[in-house]
């Protein structure tokens, strides 16, 4: 039994079930990220934990106490909202201590808690301003401060960074990560940005259509996706998925793809998945960083496949250059070093790190292991 237990929880609006039997146990100090596309039910689940939405069936318990039907303010949770939800009429200080005030904490104690948290987040000089006078990043910090000051059992974050611009988002991400490492609190965090999910979490629940598709550590999710949805949702640029035909010979195996010249190429696999049969139609998945030029290829890889193919688009990204080519009629993105010598329209030798290859059944979209 975990610190926060989500036990077989279902949510329906009227006749529509928007969450289907969700089952997650969160340990104390864990950083669980719920990630998934818009409308998949992340916020709904988070709101149910917070007590802002009723639970249709199942149980949620915090520290072993079933909290179904308990008022949000009695659950000892704190929440940071996407829009920050700062009270526009109160100063930053008042915003942060409002919750304590509502819980009848005496002024002296409130002030102390406020001072501590303000120091921690380096927002001491902002305490007398109104939210309207703050920048996006500052608001975000205040919203976190408001949660921290309560010292709750569980922190809930609903896309707290999605209103920030790219640069600030990266900085705040690191800050949240540090905070978690420092305070060791239990966090449930919603985002639809998979990079955030990967960098922040200790565990990720990838959701889609009201189902938890996969629950695991970031590395499991990234390297070992259960199905096509998880594979393509996580990672940016996302995993290349191309139609291929399996070749199985004894213990060895490979996949056959069509190059840009229309000729078939067989790419060897490091081992033969048990579920693979010869001639089977598969989806061959490989991440962009596993498709490189010769120089950039991983020196420790067991199996590297080489393939000359036509280059279509080059997008220099500073640190890396993204190269688009075509396999089996589908765009494939390769991530290369910024010094790469390939040019659009030319043929170029690609190196594929087949250790990282994954195969899916095109029908069920499930992984072939």
């Amino acid at each position: 039994m975990g610190f926060l237990d989500i036990d077989n929880v279902t949510k329906s609006y009227g006749a529509v079930e928007v969450l289907h039997r969700v089952d997650i146990a969160v340990e104390e100090g864990e950083f669980l990220v719920l990630v998934g596309p818009s409308g998949c039910g992340k916020s709904t689940l988070l709101n149910m934990i917070a007590g802002l939405e009723g639970i249709t069936s199942g149980e949620i318990s915090i520290k072993g106490r079933v909290v179904n039907g308990v008022h949000p303010s009695k659950r000892n949770i704190a929440m940071v909202f996407q829009s920050y939800a700062l009270y526009p009429n109160m100063t930053v200080g008042q915003n942060m201590t409002f919750g304590l005030e509502m819980h009848g904490v005496p002024k002296a104690e409130r002030d102390k808690a406020l001072a501590d948290v303000a120091k921690l987040l380096q927002i001491e000089q902002l305490l007398d301003r109104k939210p309207g006078q703050l920048s996006g990043g500052q608001r975000q910090r205040v919203a976190m401060g408001r949660a921290l000051v309560r010292d709750p059992d569980v922190f809930l974050f609903d896309e707290p960074l999605s209103n920030l611009d790219a640069k600030l988002r990266v900085d705040m991400r690191t800050e949240i990560k540090k905070l978690h490492q420092k305070l060791g609190t239990t966090i449930v965090y919603v985002t639809h940005d998979q990079i955030e999910a990967m960098t922040l979490s200790t565990r990720i629940a990838v959701m889609n259509g009201g189902y938890v598709q996969q629950l695991g550590t970031p590395q499991q999710i990234y390297d070992d996706p259960e199905n096509v949805f998880v594979a393509s949702f996580m990672g940016s640029p996302s995993m290349n998925l191309v139609k291929a035909v399996a070749h199985v010979t004894g213990n060895g195996a490979g996949v056959e793809v069509t190059g840009s010249d229309g000729a078939p190429h067989v790419l060897p696999l490091p081992s033969r998945p048990a579920g693979l049969t010869d001639g089977q139609q598969v989806l061959f998945g490989i991440r962009p960083e596993a498709v490189t030029d010769g120089e950039g290829a991983d020196r420790n890889a067991q199996v590297l496949a080489r393939l000359v193919n036509r280059i279509e688009v080059i997008e220099p990204g500073g640190a890396d250059t993204f190269v688009t080519t075509t396999l089996s009629g589908k765009d494939v993105i390769a991530r290369m070093r910024s010094q790469t010598t390939c040019r659009p329209g030319e043929d170029f030798e690609l190196v594929l790190n087949m250790d990282k290859a994954v195969l899916f059944d095109p029908e069920t979209e499930q992984r072939i292991r």
Partner: protein, 293 residues
């Protein structure tokens, strides 16, 4: 080379602009004319009115009519002027506006932030109530007031105005609060604030613009109401408009038009004041709340 700068997204030429200014001024004239007629005639002696041109400026200026209208004109058997009724009106308007605005705000709050099954239907019922012609409620309302023991009293009038005002105030606040982020309410709930505390501490402080609209609307309507005032008031609760009507509308007596006009302007002063003082926020409030239809 520099070109003439304009921040407007829409550009207009010089000729067009001149035309626009002219038109706007022309309309200003149109709106001001009746007021001019009232004002200039209120400053004339009576014979200059009955015998002369009503559109012209006074030949002989006098403030007598104003003094008379305020303190000596005959309203009933006593030559009290409008003065005492002013207070009656204030005593009626202030609570009626306050109560209907607060109820409207609470209703809007419930209807947007604490939604429940059938809330839209309830709102529809309230909204339709705005459109009832007042003449038809006169008799049944009198009966109800009598039964409640409020007939002929200021509280009775306040009740009547509240009843027929909440439809509009609810509409205003509902539309305004609909745009107010629900997340704030949720945050306050998690912070441990209850229904009223959330309203009081979170929503009310930011309701300024729409409160202005609601107050202006209600104040104007209630202050200017005659029908209810005449039907449901006693002498000691009789509002300004009824007194003004008594001043202006005597049937077989002598008509002192200059006093009538002075009284009319006097009676309208509070509403004019409200428009001029709060008018600045009026468009802003409308923008924030009531135009999303």
């Amino acid at each position: 080379m520099a070109v003439a700068e304009q921040d407007t997204a829409v550009r207009t030429g010089r000729i067009t602009r001149t035309f626009i200014y002219l038109l706007l001024l022309l309309f200003a004239l149109f709106y001001l004319l009746p007021f001019f007629v009232m004002l200039s005639n209120s400053l004339k002696p009576l014979d200059e009115i009955t015998g002369g041109n009503m559109m012209s400026l006074p030949r002989e200026w006098t403030i007598e009519p104003w003094l008379a209208a305020w303190s000596t004109a005959q309203i009933g058997v006593e030559p009290t002027g409008l003065k005492p009724y002013f207070l009656n009106s204030i005593l009626m308007v202030v609570p009626a506006v306050a109560i209907s605005t607060i109820l409207g705000a609470l209703n809007g709050y419930v209807l947007t932030k604490w939604r429940f099954k059938g809330d839209n239907l309830l709102f529809g019922l309230m909204l339709f109530a705005c459109f009832i012609p007042f003449q038809i409620v006169l008799i049944p309302m009198a009966r109800m007031l009598g039964l409640m023991g409020l007939a002929g009293s200021t509280p009775g009038l306040v009740l009547v105005h509240v009843v027929y005002g909440i439809g509009f105030t609810t509409l205003y606040f509902r539309n305004y609060y609909a745009a107010f982020p629900t997340e704030l309410v949720r945050a306050a709930m998690i912070d441990g604030a209850g229904f009223f505390r959330i309203f009081w501490r979170i929503l009310l402080p930011v309701s300024g613009p729409i409160a202005v609209v609601s107050v202006i609307w209600q104040f104007t309507n209630i202050w200017n109401d005659f029908l209810f005032g005449a039907s449901f008031a006693d002498l000691d609760s009789m509002p300004m408009t009824v007194a003004l009507n008594n001043l202006v509308n005597s049937s077989t007596g002598v008509k002192e038009y200059n006093v009538h006009f002075a009284g009319a302007i006097l009676a309208a002063l509070p509403t004019l004041l409200v428009y001029i003082v709060a008018g600045r926020y009026f468009v802003r409030g409308l923008m924030a709340g009531s135009v999303k239809g």
